[in-house]
Amino acid sequence: MTAQNTQQLPIVIVGHVDHGKSSLIGRLLYDTQSLPANKQKEIEAISSKRGMDMEWSFVLDSFQAERDQAITIDTTQIWFKTPKRSYVIIDAPGHREFLKNMISGAAQAEAAILVLDAKEGIKEQTKRHAYLLHLLGLKQVIVAINKMDLVKNDEARFNELSKDVSEYLASLNIFPTAIIPISARQGDNIANSAEKSMPWYKGHTIVQKLDTLTASAALIEKPARFPVQDVYRFDERRIIVGHLDSGRIKIGDKLTFSPVNETATVTTIESWPAKAEQTEVEAGQSIAITLDQPIFVERGHIGSHAEDAPMLSNVFRMHLFWLSDKPLKVGNVYKIRLATQEALATVQAIEKTIDTDDLKSSEMGDVVRNGVAEIVFRTRDMLALDPFSDNPSTGRCVIYDGFDVAGGGIVSMEGYADQRMAYVQRPKNIYTVEHLIPHEERAQRNGHKGAVFWFTGLSGAGKSTVAMNVERYLFDKGYNTYVLDGDNVRHGLNKDLGFSPEDRKENIRRVAAVSGLQADAGLITITAFISPYREDRESARALTPDHFHEIFIKADLATCENRDPKNLYKKARAGDIKEFTGISSPYEEPDNPDLVVDTQKHDLQTCIQQVADYIESHVKIADIKTKKISNS
């Protein structure tokens, strides 16, 4: 669910521990006469009881433990208004121990103030918080350089820090709307401009700047996303309820529910107390509708218009933050929630962990508490989702471990295919026309099962050589096998295709379809295509998910270029061949191939044997089945 609000702008205050976030808010409220009448006296009394001067942070820090330790533990919210509009100010804790509370606060905001201590400068949580703003999709950021009183209101210090912080933010694609020198203690440049103490500063105060921020554009113009929360059957009708996260829905619209792909027409929009007939609902409303047909819809399904449906996939990349004490590891299984969908997801790969300090990423290791990383999740069932950049509603998910939220992140589908076509076609086109020969029977006669062994690798890595030798080897041992090779297929089936990304995609789609049929016919099918795009290979897998094996024929570019059996690299370097993989067109290595064959490290014979052994062990007929069939 995504809330949007033009009347009241939620702003979060973030930054390193003790840099003065709570103080800034306390002071902001005081200077704008927004504090409750008795609050100032109360805070004065509490401060002096603890032997302190006026401690503005106590306005926000209401727990005894917070006041005693002078630290914010949990996020809080407070309301405040300027003549222009009202704001919800969200205070976030700066201590790394309470990052989960910082995120709970920041995730509700539309803009942020990043507070920086002028004396201490940029610290660990300054960077981590900035990174998380970027991950949460917050683009509007004001930087407040606080405690200017401690650096004698020095302009040079301010300029130096402005430069540092701008550089870091720019590397995250955040461009602050303003950088303001302030003193929460003195009340400088918060509501009142500090002409006396900082005459060199000519820009806006915090309050003036807040009024220039804009509420993010409503999601009404995006494609409709209606995550189903529940189906009520209070009487004979089935009422489908949920929060319309984006788009519009009208009576008479055809809605498709994903991932089940059931479609029906909206007949009524229900409400209590009954209103004059409502014919349309829009993003931001909690709605209740009925449909013209009793299709299968339940909690977790995502309603959309058929032409603008979300993607379907059981594999996707997540850019996530991790909050749990127990590290996230490859192979771990978590419960995830994406809109109202709930699924078990396996961590297939941790592609990189990111050090928020220097933004360097490494490929090694688990994701530990407070870490950020890019990972690949695989789920058993299809999920309906969108890249976060297209739609936040179905583009982010929360990860649970045990009873608790362990992390969250945003979805990227880069390199992964929309499996909707494959998914939709499978039941309709393959399973509806049943052969009269069951797979087992075919396998029984052949003495082995059919399957697809999909090679991928650079030109010159050895795909064709290995494939043809394995074919010979298996054939000699009595297997039925056939290799689909790039060059051969391009002479016939795919004669009409070139090497543009679209044509390569279509090339692979056809090969995938043919190899699927060959496997179905009982053949051990080996394909030898560069197939450079991960997305295309994933779609090939989706066609025959149960007997598809991805085999990475591995050799680095330098080695392949050195081998150059067909002189292609030379021509590509000379510019005679356009869109040549590895030179002028990308090659995406497999994430998690079923087998890696390193032709650089091992000689040809070893490689052939490695593949042949793998294939033999995967096409065996289970003994029990053999008996059962031979007895019948």
Partner: protein, 269 residues
Amino acid sequence: MNKSIEEHLRRLEAESIYILREAYANIDPLVMLWSIGKDSTTLLYLVKKAFLGRVPFPLVHLDTDMEMDEVYAFRDWIAKEWDFDLTIEHCPPESEMDPTLPPASRAAARKTQGLKNLIQDGKYEGVFLGIRRDEQSMRAKERVFSPRDNNGEWNFKDQPAEFWGQYKTDFPEGTHIRIHPLLHWTELDIWRYTQLENIPYVPLYLARDGKRYRSLGEKNITFPVDSNADTLEAIIAELEETRDPERAGRAMDNETEDAFERLRASGYM
């Protein structure tokens, strides 16, 4: 009503309905506390919106037998008018409360105990409450789905992460979740929405002889504040201007610095 204010209220409404439906889909059995005040009556109205005229879980009034007469009269009238089943739970006597608490807090603790008994007897896993962040700085730190341990206690120093409308709905046996669908609303929002939707309210909120109640609690520990706001419009106008806190008339909040923290940690709403 100004269009952008109405839009703002509709968003709050939609969010609260979303929360109510999330709880209903994920937690069972549920119970809702109705204190008959402006907030929980608004919440009750939102429940009827969310479930299209129904109240699909029991509704309970934790009765201290110390409410004001007008409150009882309103309760019985609405229950009939809106036609729902109301359970009245009487809270244990003050003599059973922790004697170290300041006197008004002791009275509030009766409600806490009443609530504990209710949850234990009904084996409820989720309790709806109409609290708001802007009422009190301890409540400002609350979660929408807020877990309580076996003793009903609030571990406020270690609350679960909560973001993107995904809530904590799994928890160990014997513990429960407090659900706060009105957490984001302010006092002003409540009155504006009451006006927009024409929701009934206890007449004690309107000024009589220069005084009105801003918050309704037990007879002996709740006091009216100076006000001439004798219509809904006047209340709204007053709140747009005032800097007086809402619960100034509630003795238990203000006895000592940590009075409310102790109350809430031990399970007070």
